[in-house]
């Protein structure tokens, strides 16, 4: 092993196989007493998935034992995630999904775009960001809700605008 070569961070690479194993075992538990038609395909695919995951985990163990890899998670999480605003973007995305049911598409999109862009831009150019966000949110409302009556989540703004426009 070359001591200068950084060790491969295998912890992050193991997340998907571990998720796959847990999900497959859960899936098997839901079909254990089901008719064969519900089982045949899932057992075939799931067994192969478990096998390839086991092979991958074995490969990782061998790599760690030989000193080429470590159980680090640097490929998945790092300080960069905070610095780039990724964690902030994740929080605003969850907020977008929660709020859109109550506030409707236009207002939630405006809030989400403004806050996310300000986080990613590290607070620079707030007026420009607010203008871009407003233009995008209103543009989305005009095209998808007003013009095409698409089934977007509706809230106070959409209801008010509908009343205003229908009453001339």
């Amino acid at each position: 092993m070359n001591p200068d070569k950084p060790r491969r961070q295998l912890g992050g690479e193991l997340v998907i196989p571990v998720l796959a194993i847990v999900f497959t075992l859960y899936f098997f538990s839901t079909i254990w007493n089901s008719p064969w038609t519900a089982q045949v395909s899932a057992f075939a695919v799931g067994s192969i998935l478990l096998l390839v995951c086991a092979m991958f985990i074995l490969r990782c163990i061998l790599s760690i034992r030989s000193g080429e890899g470590s159980l680090g998670f640097a490929t998945l999480f790092s300080r960069e995630d905070l610095a780039t605003g990724r964690i902030g973007l994740l929080i605003t995305t969850v907020g977008f999904c929660v709020l859109i049911e109550w506030l409707g598409f236009t207002l939630t999109t405006f809030l989400f775009l403004s806050i996310s862009m300000i986080i990613l831009a590290k607070g620079k150019r707030p007026v420009f960001i607010a203008a871009v966000s407003a233009a995008m949110a209103l543009g989305g409302w005009a095209v998808f809700i007003w013009a095409f009556d698409t089934r977007f989540p509706r809230g106070w703004f959409e209801t008010t605008m509908k009343a205003v426009l229908s009453n001339g």
């Binding site: 992050g12 690479e13 997340v15 998907i16 196989p17 998720l19 796959a20 999900f23 497959t24 859960y26 899936f27 839901t30 079909i31 089901s34 008719p35 064969w36 038609t37 519900a38 045949v40 395909s41 899932a42 695919v45 799931g46 192969i48 998935l49 390839v52 991958f56 490969r59 490929t75 998945l76 960069e80 780039t84 605003g85 990724r86 973007l89 994740l90 995305t93 969850v94 977008f96 999904c97 859109i100 049911e101 999109t109 989400f112 775009l113 996310s116 862009m117 990613l120 831009a121 960001i129 871009v132 995008m136 989305g140 095209v143 095409f148 009556d149 698409t150 089934r151 977007f152 989540p153």
Partner: protein, 501 residues
């Protein structure tokens, strides 16, 4: 024959006079095709009152143009920001996006537009000429044959997995497992649904697509200031790149022809579709390429294959609709409803009783592809600038508009959370070297493969040898094995030839 030719010429010029409908519809199609969740089918449903109010011919021209342009539009975000607008464009970013990252977005768009237009135009003409034969293809495709067609698509996982076989197989089989969520097709037993009623019909495709591609990509691109990689060079924005793209696509004319024919044949089969066609075409293109190692790194042929094939599907789906009255897909089914509203009855007699309607639909498609070529191609120069928009603005826009697109098809808030969940899965996969396309292939093709597999077993009382019981099926099995084995053989021969030199 002479009479038919006269009708075709007359219908062609008549359709051309509808340019005022076709051109705005092309742009509408580009928009709805480019945003996940807004398929042509959804848009035609939304605009159905308008379509029914139009004359039959105007309505047909509108629907057909929207169908074609939405198909082409789905490839634009797939190339520029790695987000396929529909599942039919899921194979497009495999080579399109690497080109965009190298600063060749304009070239990639031109290649995509040329191969889509020529593929669509060519298959329309082939469909027109061979309609009676093509219409019968659906009759010969039973569950056994469909299993092999699905396996043709699924074998793409093996190609994607070539860089790290274990990781590729884990991603592909995880996708197949996720695709098994929902009730089984025979007894409707719920499986792996985590208790969510919303998953009883299976994992909805659009939230999976939005999450795996759009949301995860948005979280990844914020690491860079713009999408174009530094080493890729700046986007020049001159016409040269567009002409280069046209030249590259035209120089591979044979590739466009045979991959679009794959799309046409798969399009004719009811229940198959553009996603299967594009995966199969990409896999076959890679299998028989002299440079398979270039696929996935921004190879023009890897972009031409799925784009030609998914546009070949559009004309294919019209064949069973017009000749047999069996819609080949969701959009064709809606066209059927609109045409029946206007009193048009389908079947072979359509071409005798109302030849202008029957041939008119194909002509509308041909004219739409012709006009698309000239109207969209110049736009590639301007569209490619999306890759230069700072990611701090682009990423939140991608997330908000695509997540809402995930909500639209079923109107369940659950689907937005599901898209977010798939986004996290896609992000983990991207950061740790698993291919999201392999997961998506599994999710799309897994349920279809299971359905046909169970149907075949039910029909044969559980006899597995039924998989080899049909002549056409056996021919397809041989084709599948050859398509997997021959590339390995040719690859070894090429290596042996290179070593002595």
């Amino acid at each position: 024959m002479g009479e038919t030719s006269a009708i075709l010429v007359e219908v062609f010029f008549e359709t051309l006079s509808f340019w005022w409908v076709i051109i705005p519809t092309i742009f509408l199609g580009l928009i709805v095709g480019g945003i996940p969740g807004f398929s042509a089918a959804n848009t035609i449903i939304i605009l159905m009152p308008l379509t029914l109010a139009m004359t039959l011919q105007t309505g047909l021209v509108f629907m057909v143009t929207l169908y074609c342009s939405a198909r082409m539009g789905a490839g634009i975000p797939a190339i520029l920001v790695n987000i396929p607008g529909t599942a039919g464009a899921a194979a497009t970013p495999l080579d399109g996006y690497p080109m965009a990252k190298q600063g060749k977005g304009q070239q990639a768009l031109a290649i995509s537009f040329v191969s889509s237009s020529i593929g669509g135009l060519l298959t329309t003409l082939v469909a027109l000429a061979t309609m009676p034969i093509l219409a019968r293809v659906g009759f010969y495709m039973h569950s056994v044959e469909m299993i092999v067609v699905m396996l043709f698509g699924i074998s793409l996982i093996a190609s994607i997995a070539s860089q790290d076989m274990l990781k590729g197989l884990i991603a592909g089989f995880l996708g197949l497992m996720i695709g098994s969520i929902g009730t089984d097709v025979v007894y409707a037993t719920p499986r792996g649904t985590f208790g969510f009623l919303e998953l009883y019909d299976g994992v909805p495709l659009i939230p999976a697509l939005v999450g795996l591609f759009a949301v995860s990509e948005a979280f990844v691109i914020i690491e860079k200031r713009v999408i174009v990689a530094k080493e890729g060079g700046a986007v020049k924005g001159s016409w040269t790149d567009t002409f280069d793209g046209v030249r590259i696509a035209l120089s591979r004319w044979w590739h466009i022809i045979w991959t679009s024919i794959i799309g046409l044949i798969i399009g004719v089969i009811p229940g198959a579709g553009a996603s299967i066609a594009s995966f199969v075409a990409y896999q076959q293109s890679r299998s028989f390429s002299k440079t398979p190692e270039l696929y996935g790194s921004g190879h023009p042929e890897g972009l031409i294959a799925p784009e030609s094939a998914n546009n070949g599907v559009t004309s294919g789906t019209l064949v069973p609709l017009l000749v047999l009255g069996i819609p080949g897909g969701a959009t064709a089914a809606i066209m059927l409803v609109v045409m029946q509203f206007h009193g048009v009855s389908f079947g072979p007699s359509l071409f005798e009783s109302q030849p202008k309607i029957g041939y008119g639909m194909f002509m509308a498609m041909a004219v739409a592809y012709l006009l698309m070529f000239f109207t969209i191609l110049p736009l590639s120069r301007y569209m490619s600038h999306v890759t230069t928009v700072p990611t701090i603005y682009l990423a939140p826009m991608i997330i908000s508009f695509t997540l809402v697109g995930g909500f639209v098809p079923r109107e369940y808030m659950f689907d937005m959370y599901l898209a977010l969940g798939f986004g996290l899965l896609g992000y983990i996969a991207r950061r740790t070297g698993y291919h999201v396309a392999a997961i998506l292939i599994g999710i799309i093709l897994g349920p279809l493969l299971e359905r046909y597999f169970l149907l075949a077993l039910k029909k044969s009382d559980g006899d597995i040898s039924t998989l080899f019981s049909s002549n056409l099926g056996n021919v397809l099995w041989v084709g599948l094995v050859l398509s997997l084995v021959l590339p390995i053989y040719f690859g070894r021969r090429r290596k042996q030839k290179v070593i002595p030199t």
